[in-house]
Amino acid sequence: MKKRRCFYLTAVVVMTLMSICCWRLPVAAQENMTSVDNGDFGRPERTPSIFRHDAHNEKAKIDACNTCHHVYKDGKLVDNESSEDRRCADCHDLKAVGKTPSLRRAFHLRCVGCHEKIGRGPIMCGECHKK
């Protein structure tokens, strides 16, 4: 009986710890990230683009997560909702579907599109995709 209780207790503790880890993981990864994860492209032709998440957002004065991690429903941007718990590839396929841009185009529009609009930040291929 005592053994069984001990097992349950351990299980609960382990599962709680695991869920905390999983929940903390994306955030922890974001702080330390130095490049965009290109793992969703089958055989990427270029190196992953350089991106230091926190340093970038501090410099660019971006506070709201959904500036980049947006949510679209029925083709319309949803205010006050963000998607940092999901991967870009969850919505953006390798090929464009309807109005949803392809994964590559989504990345490029999100980064280069913004840089071009505000007139700051890298816009040439090799400035992000460094050899």
Binding site: H108, L109, C125, G126
Partner: protein
């Protein structure tokens, strides 16, 4: 450098495409009107059959006597022209520009292959340069403009190659690449690069005259 790159890849890109397309149409139409005014009889000898027979022979490697006499020149010129034409159109990085800007999807060459094709164009340019300087019959016909033309064609490929490999100063060579590419595009209708536009017509004319008037081969 950023402002210059923005200008070159923005407004000047539009200008160069408009100049290239409008200039090409102008050259073709004005040549057509000139022929109609001065040499109207040409239309009486023109024939689809002889035109395409000639074009076919001259776009097939070694299908003419002259090509068989100069095998090295033949191989070089075919490799040069094929790579010159295909590489810029089907380069992945160029396709990405079309995709990002206009949502237009083009099939793309693998980067490794495009890299080799770029080297073929550069090597072809060096070959033509040496040929101009060495062969008496070619040197006799050569003026400064021939060298400038060669440099103009090779420049976008050379700068593109250096920029792709991110050697020396990436941003400088990238900017220079866009500029030299646009200069070449705009020069096509107004320099001897216009053989790109006129070649099918001159070939068709030669083929037709040899076929319907002289009853001889022109290859």
């Amino acid at each position: 450098m950023d402002a210059l790159y923005r200008f070159l890849s923005g407004p000047l890109a539009w200008v160069s495409f408009v100049v290239f397309i409008a200039g090409s149409l102008y050259r073709l139409l004005s040549m057509g009107f000139l022929v109609r005014r001065k040499e109207k009889f040409i239309f009486s000898v023109m024939s689809w059959k002889y035109s395409f027979r000639s074009i076919f022979h001259w776009i097939t490697p070694f299908a003419s006597v002259n090509m068989r006499r100069h095998p090295v020149m033949t191989i070089t010129t075919f490799a040069f022209h094929i790579c010159l034409f295909l590489t810029p159109i089907f380069l992945l990085a160029h396709g990405v520009l079309w995709d990002d800007a206009f949502n237009i999807h083009l099939w793309a060459l693998p980067n490794g292959l495009a890299d080799i094709m770029t080297l073929v164009v550069i090597a072809g340019g060096v070959f033509f340069l040496c040929r101009r300087m060495k062969l008496a019959e070619v040197r006799y016909l050569t003026t400064l403009s021939d060298y400038l033309l060669l440099i103009m064609v090779a420049a976008p490929f050379l700068t593109g190659f250096i920029a792709y490999h991110q050697w020396i100063d990436y941003r400088f060579f990238m900017t220079l690449h866009v500029l030299t590419g646009e200069i070449m595009l705009m020069a096509i209708p107004f320099t001897r690069l216009s053989h790109m536009l006129f070649a099918p017509f001159t070939r068709a004319y030669m083929g037709s005259e040899f076929g319907s008037v002289r009853h001889a081969r022109d290859w």
